[in-house]
Amino acid sequence: MKIAILGTGCPKCKQTAEVVRRAVEQVGIEATIYKVEDIREIMMFKVMTTPAVAVDGQVRISGRVPTMDEVKALLSHGGTE
């Protein structure tokens, strides 16, 4: 699973990255977390608000810092749906 944190490097994006990192740790799955900070690359995900979280290339959360439970739910349901 690949998790992208989209955001131009603001405090909320860092918080988001931290929440995702901890969630991945707690769920205990294999996942690569990477940050996308370049605005052009962010736009490739078609988001209009940041921070955003994309799982396997699909945007699942945008415009806010997610809660731990949300991210855990995302992780356990996988990028399928």
Binding site: T8, M44, M48, T50, A52, A73, L74
Partner: protein, 377 residues
């Protein structure tokens, strides 16, 4: 727009970007509680109770300020210190309480709107009608200037005309809930309505003018290469009331939690002016008689980056000392609506000439409002 963007200490990441959307309801992809109806009823009852308590406390503020000033501190009536202290002890909790209530209400209203929905409504709209619609949507859609770039690109690439996009970008910061609450609580509904009306008019007209100027070529080329359309991300079709209330509470925590120091500082400055600056002191500098005061107020306002919460208590004190309403409105609009950090952020997608045009057109609009009110009142 949410009052959520702060200038970051320099060097943290180049530009002063701070991402900070207001709270949003949970994504539909995340399972929410099953017992929704019962919890909703519980939330409504708690809500009414909270509102009742809020009202009683609010009513008690004025007696409390008097008691605090005259009985507890035993200050003698009529002195400068007394009037400053009473102003502060009354206004600070009052403004914070109003702010909490309105930010909560706006948080709920905004849970019905998303930038994605605004874009869908505006895509393909013709100008003029589109400009008007965009200005209204700018007020109710959760947005902050640090998301200006993705939002701008999202709009432009999915067929929202450039001028219409600008109407949105102008009205979103300028006509915001915090400005309206503070104006209402400190000056009454008339001035709040004047501010909202003229702010919307400036957004509509300046967006229309920018559209007429046909400056599409002054948008950075790569923007148009971004694939348009797509409604990915947070467009949650069925959000329960429970989630909406939660998003209201989240925005209170987010916004009030962040702006309260500015409000308190603003009121403290206001209190000092209230108590120590002589009546009509400002009349000479910011009065209606000085023609140069309006442009000066706008120029001073642009580099000043404050949110409405910090600036309005100062504005109230200025008005009380004889500054003219038009000048003060112009100053406020310039501080809130024309911010240098936002322009720097927009530089990523706009060429300098378009940014200058944008600032110029909006600036002229603000000037007209300033002169108009100085002439009328």
């Amino acid at each position: 727009m949410s009052e959520c963007c702060e200038r970051k200490p320099a060097g943290e990441s180049g530009l002063g970007t701070t991402c900070c959307e207001g709270a949003r309801p949970a994504d539909s992809s995340v399972p929410t509680s099953e017992a929704a109806p019962r919890t909703t009823a519980k939330y409504i009852i708690i809500g009414f109770l909270a509102l009742g308590i809020w009202w009683m406390v609010y009513q008690g503020l004025s007696p409390f300020a008097k008691w605090f000033t005259f009985s507890l501190l035993a200050l003698s009536p009529g002195s400068r210190l007394t009037s400053a202290v009473e102003f502060f002890v009354f206004e600070a909790p009052k403004v914070l309480m109003l702010l909490t209530l309105v930010v909560f209400a706006v948080g709920i209203v905004r849970s019905f709107f998303t930038p994605e929905r605004a874009r869908r409504i505006l895509a393909g709209k013709r100008e003029s009608a589109g400009n008007a619609l965009a200005s209204f949507l700018g007020v109710v859609t959760p947005f902050c200037s640090c998301s200006a770039v993705p939002l701008f690109i999202g709009f432009v690439t999915s067929g929202v005309p450039l001028g219409v996009t600008f109407s949105f970008l102008v009205s979103a910061p300028m006509v915001n809930e915090i400005a309206l609450v503070l104006l209402y609580s400190l000056f009454g509904w008339k001035i709040a309505a004047i501010y909202a009306g003229t702010g919307l008019a400036i957004a509509m007209i300046s967006g229309w003018v920018i559209g007429r100027l046909g400056m599409e070529s002054h948008v950075e080329e790569w923007v148009y290469a971004v694939p348009g359309g797509g409604d990915e991300g947070a467009d949650s079709p069925d959000v329960s009331w429970r989630d909406r209330i939660r998003s209201g509470l989240d925005s209170v925590r987010d916004i009030v939690g962040k702006v309260w120091p500015y409000v308190v500082a603003g009121i403290a400055v206001g209190a000092a002016i209230h108590g120590y600056v002589p009546e009509n002191f400002m009349a000479g500098i910011m009065g209606a008689g000085a023609w140069w005061s309006v442009p000066l107020a706008v120029l001073i306002g642009i580099p000043m980056y404050s949110n409405a919460a910090g600036i309005i208590p100062v504005v109230q004190a200025l008005l009380g000392k004889g500054a003219a309403l038009g000048t003060v409105l112009a100053f406020m609009m310039s501080v809130i609506g024309l911010s240098l950090p936002e322009m720097i952020i927009l530089r990523k997608v706009l060429k300098v000439r378009l940014i200058a045009t944008f600032a110029g057109v909006v600036g002229v609009g603000i000037l007209i409002v300033g002169y108009l009110f100085n002439a009328l009142l």
